[in-house]
Amino acid sequence: MTYNKRVICGALAMSAALVSPSSSALFAQGGTFDRTIPPTVGEAKPLTFPAIVERQLSNGILVAIMEDRSSPVVRVSTVLEISPEREPADQIGLSSLVRSMLTEGTTVHTADELSDEFARLGNTVSPFGFYTILENVDRSLELMAEQLLTPAFDQGALDRIKSNRIAEIKRAMENPSYLAGRVFANQLYGATHPYSRSETEATISSIDRDDIVSFFNTYYRPPNVKFVVGGAITPDEVVAKLEKFFGSWTPGSPGTVVPPEPVSPDSTVVYLYDRPNSPQSVIMIGSMGPRRDDPDYFAIDLMNRTLGGAFTSRLNLNLREVHQYTYGARTSFNYRNVPELSNFSASASVVASKTDSSLIEFMKEIRGIHGLQPVTEDELQFARNQAVAILPLQFETIIQRANAVASLYSRRLPLDFYNKLVGNYNAVTHEQVLNVARKWIDPDRMVVVIVGDRSQIEAQLRATGVAPVVVVESLEEQGSSSK
């Protein structure tokens, strides 16, 4: 090494600064106990989720309130029940442009003036919520209401946001996972299904200020708006404050629309999308899944933990630890709001030269959980322990708890969901887990997407014989399995 070195004495370097030395080490090397035996631990403390109270403003707006005095802070979330599918098919991106435009100034303050207001407070305030100390709550609510109720929709801001959005679309195309997601949606839902729609330069360019104003006036109203408030504040205080700012908001048209339910394909097909000079291939395999409020939700969650929902899951241990094809592999059920269907997906970035071998192992694990190697009693117990024991971590902080409540509103789940969580996990039977694996993980009806260097991987993929290989040339295209 060419740089200088300084020398310190390992054990003593910091001792001068230290206080209250511990008792001396009396044990021999390793101590007098058997380190191979895991410690016996006591029972976990029972999990208590703070009570959630639901109230209504005079105009019908629902508010879920979690009073939680563990620290003097408040989290406010705006839950909007406005489906992106309300956008006209040639104006994909309209709803997200409306969201962006709500932060671009109001009839009272320009965006720069708002920015000054936030700096005075020490916290930013989005139209969709904020997190702040108690004494900033009133002013933050006022600024939130101002943005939600009186946006300016400045033309210059719209032009800038549209141009930035077009740039972001171009940049996303550089990302292999984004490309895989696009091809996956096209093949699973059909290229023209609302779930496959993507913003393009053309759809963004076609949106003008009138479209923004009209979408906002139609949908940004009760009953498409709900609020969630968590923190050191009483329900009565919350209702009084919200009533003051939002009580006069008049109702609009229903914001949600449920697109037709896609169905999983009749047979498994491999769709290959070329990304030259990729040292890894992104693999994404999946099918349609259940609604978020499916009675089998808890059984599905435990099954998924065994398959690919944890570090020690079958899929990750196989692809990463046993074969070293990847840094990590996972599976998940990706839920939408009730009553829409979810999808199941299994994915990893794998070393290009082992794309074929990785695909074979993916399909082996999928076939395994489906029935060739069903979830064992031990695996189920492990998954259940994990799911229940980790709850104190998931609800550790006030912001985690407040966000958890907000997700109940946005997913449209009952507000007592968390109180029943432990009981619901414990009620899952082995038989139920075997059934949901057979039902929802069907190896013969999977969309398989691979984004990688075609010149390096195509021949190998075809030779696996896992399924027919179709080369997808464009992101607008739904490939046909007849190729």
């Binding site: 060419t2 740089y3 070195k5 300084r6 020398v7 004495c9 390992g10 054990a11 003593l12 230290l18 206080v19 030395p21 511990s22 001396s24 080490a25 044990f27 390793g30 106990f33 380190r35 191979t36 895991p38 976990a44 620290s71 003097p72 802070v73 720069d112 920015s115 700096a119 005075r120 407070l121 020490g122 916290n123 702040t132 100390i133 004494e135 900033n136 740039a167 940049r171 550089e174 030259p276 000079n277 040292p279 890894q280 020690t312 241990l317 094809y325 990847t326 840094y327 996972r330 998940s332 070393v351 030269s353 994990q386 024991a389 980790i390 104190p392 971590l393 390096q456 030779a463 696996t464």
Partner: protein, 488 residues
């Protein structure tokens, strides 16, 4: 990291932004952005075992969880030339079992107990951590003590080889398969002087990863993974007396070492001339642009003032550089400026994400004219109080989890010898004057710097100031040997 957290999808610069925002803690009395402000003080008990292990205990019963976090004061800067990436590879090996914990059990035990776990390696330190339900504290101490005291008897060539390949895939996923993925390592290589241990990337090179041997692992462990080079923090819901006894039981018997630890001394460094670089990527569609100056580390007196200058440039939409580039001239979708401080040195960076068609030459010219304009229009008191207001409130809001608090205390202890160093650090930022900020900017943002244009392959006409001489630093792609078709 030993594995990628499933929710974590942060870009390099998202991480940089995160690191730049100050963590804080919950105060019993609320803070005020504008009134008088008392920096909240975390309770902490610090002591040292006979073998040299430093212990930090901080009790917080607001949730039934406890964080166990062990920092080893060793990172990629301690690596030998030819063994880059080794500290991080070693981190992976630490998860492969130890003398009393069989391979694969560490993850299984923590997951079964309802815990989260991971490890991180950076230039200066490596840490291993788990947050567990509070009844599982002893389980975490058992696991952490076994790999601190008894790693080598559980080690073999197979485990090393397996993790070597996992790490190579981590490199491919984070760097080689990402657009302009090698940006960061190009910047450090060219900003720090030749031979500086901050020049090479934490993840290392493929060649050096291939070269690492079992003997390297053993030597590294014996040298750096001694109790005297480690600090253990326990934060959360625990009984202090019982916990002190458990720490003694599990960590007390581990042998200490009197061997000397050699640490690199990284001297203050400035560049004398500008270095212009170009990175091409055939998977990219749009250019990116970054300027980097050598600067100070987190221990340096100028750290706070130079960090503040980054906020003045790009904190929000009214900050000078953001206002000019993103809002007035609309040449960028995003611009970020700030100090990336390591333990002994740092880099001040300005990173611009251009709009399609925007000229990098024009962006560079406007960055430079903005920097020059401070001579006539110096940093104002309003600009400084702006970031200080945010700092106060975000500090109270920001640190509310046991692991966050453990990290803050450890950072203070390991790099500054004081677990409550954050209080001094924040006070320093709150005491800063506009003159301090100006002086720091003048001192470090000089002509010696690295200017990196990143463009889609072949589009060299898009680089900034293409008429000036530059070095093309585009890396050669990895050559993989494909398996014969159908042979798996």
């Amino acid at each position: 990291m030993i594995y990628k957290k499933m929710s974590a999808r942060k870009t390099l610069f998202a991480r940089a932004l995160l690191a730049a925002s100050l963590a804080g803690m919950v105060a019993p009395e609320a803070a005020s952005a504008q009134g008088k402000f008392n920096i909240p003080k975390l309770p902490v008990e610090r002591y040292q075992l006979k073998n040299g292990l430093t212990v930090l205990l901080s009790r917080d019963t607001s949730a039934s969880v406890v964080a166990v976090d062990v920092w080893y004061h060793v990172g990629s800067k301690n690596e030998e030339v030819g063994r880059t990436g080794f500290a991080h590879l070693f981190e992976h090996v630490m998860f492969q079992g130890s003398e009393h914990i069989p391979y694969g059990q560490h993850f299984k035990i923590i997951e079964n107990a309802g815990g989260n776990l991971n490890g991180t390696t950076n230039y200066d330190k490596t840490n291993y951590y788990e947050t567990v339900p509070s009844n599982q504290l002893e389980t975490a101490l058992w696991l952490e003590s076994d790999r601190m005291g008894f790693l080598l008897n559980g080690l073999d060539q197979t485990k090393l080889d397996a993790q070597r390949d996992v790490v190579k895939n981590e490199r491919r996923q984070r760097i080689d398969n990402q657009p302009y993925g090698s940006m960061w390592e190009i910047i450090t290589l060219n900003t720090f002087p030749e031979g500086s241990p901050y020049a090479w990337p934490v993840i290392g090179s493929m060649e050096d990863l291939s070269a690492a041997t079992l003997d390297d692992v053993k030597n590294f462990f014996r040298k750096y993974y001694v109790p005297g080079n480690a600090t253990l923090a326990i934060v959360g819901d625990f009984d202090a007396d019982a916990t002190r006894a458990l720490v003694e039981k599990y960590f007390g018997p581990i042998a200490g070492s009197d061997a000397e630890i050699e640490r690199p001394v990284i001297q203050p460094y400035t560049m004398t001339a500008e270095r212009r670089l170009v990175l091409e990527d055939d998977r990219s569609q749009l250019p990116q642009f970054v300027i980097t100056w050598p600067a100070v580390g987190v221990k340096h007196a100028d750290n706070a003032a130079l960090s503040a200058f980054g906020r003045v440039l790009t904190q929000d939409r009214t900050s000078r550089l953001t206002k000019l580039l993103t809002y007035e001239r609309q040449l960028t979708t995003q611009v970020w400026a700030g100090l990336q401080g390591l333990e002994d040195a740092g880099m001040f960076m300005i990173y611009a994400v251009p709009r399609p068609g925007a000229s990098l030459t024009e962006i560079e010219r406007l960055i430079d004219s903005t920097l020059t304009s401070f001579d006539a229009n110096p940093v104002t008191a309003e600009e400084v109080s702006r970031f200080q207001n945010y700092m106060k409130v975000q500090m109270v809001l920001g640190l509310d989890g046991a692991m966050n608090k453990a990290e803050l205390l450890l950072d203070g202890q390991v790099f500054h010898g004081d677990p409550l160093h954050y209080m001094k650090s924040i006070q320093q930022s709150l005491d800063i004057t506009p003159q301090d900020v100006m002086a720091a900017a003048k001192k470090y943002l000089t002509t010696g710097r690295v200017v990196l244009s990143m463009v889609p392959a072949g589009q060299l006409d898009q680089i900034s100031k293409p008429d000036q001489s530059y070095q093309n630093v585009t890396p050669t792609p990895e050559v993989q040997t494909p398996a014969p078709a159908g042979n798996n």
